[in-house]
Symmetry: C2
Subunit: 181 residues, 2 copies
DNA sequence: CATCTCTATATCAATATGATAGTATCGATT
DNA sequence: AATCGATACTATCATATTGATATAGAGATG
């Protein structure tokens, strides 16, 4: 899904500014399955506006910078519906961790253990964050999507904890002390 | 992980041409956690060669186009080791499916069910493919990585099968007929 | 009173994608 | 025998995207 369609979709859930869209994909409930930077969001909104798929209203705020709030037009809604009717295509999953694991074995095997340790910590903190998001009020679909993310994080964590020992039989034990911090 | 580092890593496992690297990331055991196109691989190899991190040998083949086989140099191996010593950073997961689910609810709720049905099929075929890869001979780390991918696919499938009904209570039942194909 | 974070828009070089081009062999269809 | 599609290769290019940075006022922190 390109950034234009992503913006269209987010605006279908409610009006928003570029800054708010960026926050949603970087920190909010979209953050674990999509990403987009200012450098793609702002041009996308400009293009969508000139194509008549969204409208833009400039809003002067008190004690804050001006804001450009974008709204989906009927035409934008139609285009979005059409895009959604096409197949979703497979997920794109890029894992520097898995790549590093594979390469570390060939180049610096002692690194394997610390990679897995770091990774486990990352999962734990992501799980906390997703659990935090679940506390908030939300639609059933949002709940479904966040729970999906949570299920994935838990599955990854379970897999690592159940199988990491098969990779590090011969390196000094450090992982066991992780709970003493 | 940028494409240059990815190429460096793949070459640490053995010499390869740009075409072979592309095959590995597009179809082989790397395919479920990384991606790279010709348009990034070939320039990356050119840059790595001019930086002295890899060497290139042109190979004339019988009944096949010439091939440029790249090999990691000692300097390349050092650079890779250094890169791997840095933290791996979180995975990047982009799911057009989850985005589409979220937007479909607002724009065409009847689409939700078919999105999930398509998705379940995608998982089933990915699981088959990963199981196929596991049949091959491979290092313990490769086995670990592929099993990881398999665990993720299974977890996603389980989650969908266990929870899809919460989203589609009010649309006509079609999913139940999926096993009759 | 300096410095950091937050709100907000915006641009830009570097990087990456996805499509396409070109060349050549092989096997299958017509 | 001709055509079609697939496989094996290298390569480029328009377009999309990232990640960093610029700008600027408000409020908090120290």
């Amino acid at each position: 899904m390109d950034v234009r369609t992503l913006c269209l979709g987010i605006l279908s859930l409610g009006d928003a500014s570029g800054y708010e869209i960026r926050k949603m994909v970087a920190e909010g409930s979209f953050s674990f399955f999509s990403e987009a930077s200012y450098g793609s969001i702002y041009p996308a909104l400009t293009k969508l506006t000139s194509d008549g798929l969204v409208t833009c209203e400039e809003l002067s705020q008190d004690k804050r910078p001006d804001k450009k709030v974008y709204s989906l037009t009927d035409q934008g809604r139609n285009v979005l519906t059409e895009k959604l009717s096409q197949g979703a295509g497979p997920d794109k999953h890029r894992s520097a961790f898995l790549a590093a694991l594979l390469f570390a074995e060939a180049v610096s095997p002692e690194r394997v253990r610390s990679l897995i340790e770091e990774r486990i910590k990352q999962h734990v903190s992501k799980i906390e964050r997703l659990n935090g998001l679940l506390e908030e009020e939300m639609s059933p679909v949002s709940h479904f999507v966040i729970s999906y993310g949570l299920a994935m994080q838990n599955a990854a964590l379970d897999y690592l904890e159940a199988n990491y020992s098969t990779l590090i039989q011969d390196t000094p034990a450090v992982l066991e002390r992780a709970d003493q911090t």
